[in-house]
């Protein structure tokens, strides 16, 4: 897909719909619905030593599934790889200015492919956490649109690992607040509580007012090969020359 010059947004949507269907299909072909529903034991919560025993914050911050701590550790790791290594520099260059990166002999397609694989693996880790670690089984549509929320968080976080992590925490806080307030029997209409994460998103997006720090070359498929690129340039020029406006001059 990277080499096919396909539109990134369209490809993304296609992959999303395809994979939702494929996951359900695979599950149904492996497990007959009339059989017992397969389940696995869930991952146990692991309180961090000492920190987990702290009053108030111990339960909220330091008593989680082991995978949650891994997710937190991934933040500085991602930051380091993206901002402090040669590969990270290449990756950013490929996003900002592929031509310049290529002239510095960076293999653009390989960098983009690795980026997609690593990103996909992280998303997969999130999905696996939900099914295996948290719920103990697979259910159709169990991600319930979380991937799209993640996408919004990435945009909102300006594609910076630290800010994306912060944005995720805000979203998580809103969802937790929604459920905790309902559980505390708060005399608030439940519809309002259900809308809380979304309301908060709108408020933050409006008030933060920062422009998304997109890479300059986002959603720009890079032409396939050097030889073909020249060919593309020529056709582009050709089409341009053939438009009525330019031929009239």
């Amino acid at each position: 897909m990277i080499e096919c010059n396909a539109d990134h947004v369209v490809t993304g949507i296609v992959m999303n719909i395809l994979c939702i269907g494929l996951a359900g299909l695979a599950y149904r072909s492996f497990f007959d619905s009339s059989q017992e529903i397969p389940s696995v034991p869930t991952m146990r919560v692991f309180p961090l030593p000492v920190l987990g025993d702290l009053p108030v914050v111990g339960r909220a911050l330091f008593t989680h599934l082991p995978i949650v701590y891994v997710a937190f550790l991934l933040v500085p790791l991602c930051w380091f790889v993206l901002k402090r290594t040669k590969w990270g520099l290449n990756a950013r260059a490929v996003g900002e200015n592929p031509e310049a990166a290529e002239s510095a002999s960076v293999n653009i397609w390989r960098v983009r492919l690795v980026g997609i694989i690593v990103g996909g693996a992280f998303a997969g880790l999130g999905g696996a956490t939900l099914s295996i670690a948290q719920v103990g089984g697979y259910l159709d549509d169990m991600t319930a649109g979380r991937g799209f929320i993640a996408l919004a968080i990435v945009v909102f976080g300006g594609l910076d690992p630290w800010r994306v992590a912060g944005a995720s925490l805000i979203f998580g806080f809103a969802e937790a607040l929604e459920l905790r307030l309902q559980a505390m029997g708060a005399q608030v209409p439940y519809e309002l509580l259900l809308g809380l994460p979304y309301l908060l998103t709108i408020v933050i997006l409006v008030t933060s007012g920062g422009k998304a720090a997109y890479p300059a070359a986002i959603n720009q498929p890079y032409p396939r090969r050097r030889s073909q690129r020249q060919h593309t340039d020529m056709t582009a020029g050709g089409i341009f020359a053939a438009t009525p406006n330019s031929s009239g001059h």
Binding site: V45, V135, D140, A144, A183, G185, L194
Partner: protein, 343 residues
Amino acid sequence: MKRLIGLALLGAAIGWSSLALSDDVKVAYLPCGKINDGSWSQVGYEGMKAVQSDLAAAGTTMTLDYTESVPAAQVETAARDYASRGYQVVVLYCGNFGDAAVNAAKAFPNTTFLLSTAPPEGDLPPNFWAFDAAQQEATFMAGYLGGLLSKTGTVSEVGGIAFPALARQMEGFLLGARFANPNIKTLSAYTNSFDDAGKAKEAAQAQIDSGSDVLFAATDQAARGVFSAAEAAGVYAIASYFDQSSLAPNTIVTNVVYDYIPIIKTMVGGAVQHKLEPGKFYLFGVEAGVGTLVFNPKIEIPADVEQKLASVLVDIKAGRLKIPALFKPGEAAAVDLNSLRVN
């Protein structure tokens, strides 16, 4: 020669298809969710299959087709599509498909439309039938059990989307818990999803943290999250729609099961054979055997609790105890418990 063979084949095809048509009935099934959700939509599907095999035994071939997880906004289109393709019976099996069913029924007077919930207000066409279970009777029993079992004096419930048919189950549970213990603290949460098991787990966890030790789940397949939270905390859970005891054998104390198969047999079988009473709203309650508590044999219930539960069931069946259907979240709190007893 070739032409002759062609003609013969054509003739055979026409003969076969008309023969098949005479005894054929095409039924479409449109559930809220997936036919393997281990819950509401699966029960409906199994009912449809039961009707199919009953009709097959009687010499009628029933073609059963389904479209899963249709959004409420698109279900009318799907229903109309089936009707225009010659399906005789279209079953809309979801609490919020009411308007779609009535609208499609008005447009296709020769097709029978069945709706699995109370009919919407307004004029109802003659080819439309609504059927429903008085689910609040069974969830009342579940709530009553929860109220008796709770040691903390707090019980709670997690629901999916708060449409009337679900709110009725949720409110029934709250009412039952209060009936067991007028001073009980009840907590209620909606997650706005029947699939999001992760969120259901978080909601259940929040309730457990607030002291709940009996959790009622009415979130279809997302209930797995509720069981998972209850299991980890060592508290009881009550499942809905299916006997799910095996999913959490030390946690799920009972399952509220609505046997929809006899309902669907009555309704779909009746529709196929044109035996439904015109204009009747078919309502099936505990008395009709719809809505029972299927206990988990691995968890022992104290004898006095069992006894109290049995006497409440007898009272409901005899009509001495009337459980109102409450369709709005929060209504149960305002109900006067004394008003339930009918003398």
